[in-house]
């Protein structure tokens, strides 16, 4: 288990124990964190599980694949530090990571 904190757009924090081997989108939906829609269920097809990752954590994450990169590139609320939560596998290296979510996923 790895501790992950999801922060809603209004600042509400949700600390969850995420199972290693699953991904951050699953960790959010499994623990009923609002603000991650995940319409496609993790197929990297919909870009509705966007999160913002603080700089100090960004380097510890697996690099973006082309698909994720281009999907993010076209999202309304996308920033430099945006990632798709479904593409980030939970590992020990993520212990204590704090990620935030946009006001809307659409």
């Amino acid at each position: 288990m790895t501790k992950v904190v999801f922060i809603e757009h209004d600042g509400t924090e949700h600390e969850v124990d995420a199972e290693n081997g699953t991904n951050l989108m699953e960790a959010a939906t499994k623990h009923l964190v609002p603000g991650i829609d995940a319409d496609c269920g993790g197929a990297c097809a919909c870009a509705t599980c966007m999160i913002y990752v603080p700089e100090e954590w960004a380097a510890k994450l697996p690099a973006k694949e082309d698909m994720e990169e281009t999907m993010l590139d076209f999202c309304d609320h996308s920033k430099e530090n945006s990632r798709l939560a479904c593409q980030i596998e939970v590992t020990d290296a993520l212990e204590g990571i704090r990620v935030s979510m946009p006001a809307s996923q659409h």
Binding site: C40, G41, A45, C46, T70, M71
Partner: protein, 410 residues
């Protein structure tokens, strides 16, 4: 009478509606009734990662089991609703129960179209719609051997891709002259035929299956109307789905190619709503009524229905979108291409595995098939919703970044 929303069905729409009812502030009782033994789960992985054995059932659940407890949602599984009595506002189940509802939500979904051909009941003949079906198919995966897929649509081709990756000898029999003929331009059909061939799958088009033959109750071959036969250890039939409208018909609700609902998912009975595959609904962006078989539609209609039950108007008005994963191909479709008069290709479908087809109708962009082309998909989602026209020569010009495409909108 106290508030009680009864949800008939336990698929995507049911799960989303239950969640949305709570999000909208509904505090009354919620009962969800599903005939499968599972809480709502995601169906798309059934023909993809779940079939491949890459993820287990706990990773396809729509919401975790704790969700229903935490949100005080009663879930009755393995239970079929047998009748709706609109006068007494009750539903009857095959377990002998009678439940009284204040509002009823029909999320009955759809079921596979069956092929009632000779030999249909042999061991080794499968459809793919639910977890139970996948378990049956997987039991053959481990044995290797030969598989015949009947139907070259999304389900058939996705199963073919997973089976081929498992080292199974796969033959796809498609009745039409092309695969995916119902939904895409021939350019896309030919592309998929090429890729499947490259991956070792045989695709035979114009092949009308006439029956199944076996030995000792076990399938051994699939026969076609032209007299040919194809050896098979197992067969997966994917020839479309039918909406589950029988309950609604028997309750005398308005039904026409799906349970008729308005833009807020209300049926012809003010206390009964419907959402998902089973509905026939208006789409103001497309200017027509339609029935859709898609996750996005199920989720969005469920949100709309939940809001409507809570007295809020959140009309459903979205451009449909779909996806299909086969091998390393991610097909993303936005819009409905029916009635297009021009198909504009961006990229080269004859080489490699990345291109897009834009469908135009009188110059207006109405749909896109994007294969490993996220920019085309994402940008088109916005352009189609706006109902714009974009000159074909701009769309096909790869020197123009998709981000700049909006500048050419007319």
């Amino acid at each position: 009478m106290s508030d009680h929303v009864v949800i008939v069905g336990a698929g995507h729409a049911a799960g989303q509606a239950a969640a949305s009812l709570r999000q909208e502030g509904y505090e009354g009782a919620i009962t969800m009734i599903g005939n499968e033994p599972y809480i709502p789960y995601q169906r798309p992985p059934l023909s993809k990662k779940f079939l491949a054995g890459e993820i287990g059932i706990d990773r396809v659940y729509f919401k975790p089991p704790e969700f229903y407890e935490k949100e005080n949602i009663t879930v009755k599984l393995g239970t079929r609703v047998t009748e709706i009595d609109r006068k007494t506002k009750t539903v009857h189940t095959d377990q002998g129960e009678t439940l009284t509802y204040s509002k009823l939500l029909l999320t009955t979904g759809s079921r596979v179209r069956e092929l009632n051909l000779p030999g249909f009941d042999l061991e080794g003949v499968f459809y793919l719609r639910n977890v139970g079906d996948v378990e049956g198919i997987q039991s053959y995966f481990n044995k290797g051997g030969k598989c015949v897929i009947v139907g070259g649509g999304y389900i058939g081709l996705e199963v073919a891709a997973v089976a081929a990756k498992h080292g199974i000898d796969v033959t796809v029999l498609e009745m039409a002259p092309m695969v995916m003929a119902r939904v895409v331009d021939p350019i896309v059909s030919r592309f998929y035929e090429r890729v499947h061939k490259e991956e070792g799958v045989k695709i035979l088009t114009g092949a009308a299956v006439s029956g199944f033959e076996g030995k000792n109750g076990q399938l051994t071959k699939v026969t076609c109307a032209d007299g040919t036969a194809h050896e098979a250890d197992f067969v997966v039939v994917g020839v479309g789905i039918l909406p589950n409208v029988e309950l609604a018909v028997e309750a005398n609700l308005e039904v026409e190619n799906g349970i008729a609902v308005d833009e807020c998912c209300r049926t012809s009975d003010p206390d009964i709503y419907a959402a998902g595959d089973c509905t026939n609904h208006p789409n103001p962006l497309l200017g027509e009524r339609l029935r859709l078989e898609s996750v996005h539609n199920a989720l969005e209609q469920a949100k709309t229905a939940a809001a409507a039950i809570c007295g809020k108007e959140k009309p459903y008005a979205q451009i449909p979108w779909f996806w299909s994963d086969q091998y390393d191909l991610k097909l993303q479709i936005v819009g409905l291409s029916a009635g297009y008069d021009q198909a504009v290709v961006r990229g080269n479908p004859d080489e490699g595995r990345s291109f897009a087809v834009f469908y135009l109708k009188e110059g207006r962009l109405i749909a896109v098939d994007a294969i490993n082309r996220a920019p085309e998909f994402m940008m088109s989602k916005q352009l189609i919703a706006k109902g714009v026209s974009i000159p074909a020569e701009k769309l096909r010009d790869e020197n123009i970044n998709m981000k700049e495409m909006a500048a050419f909108a007319i």
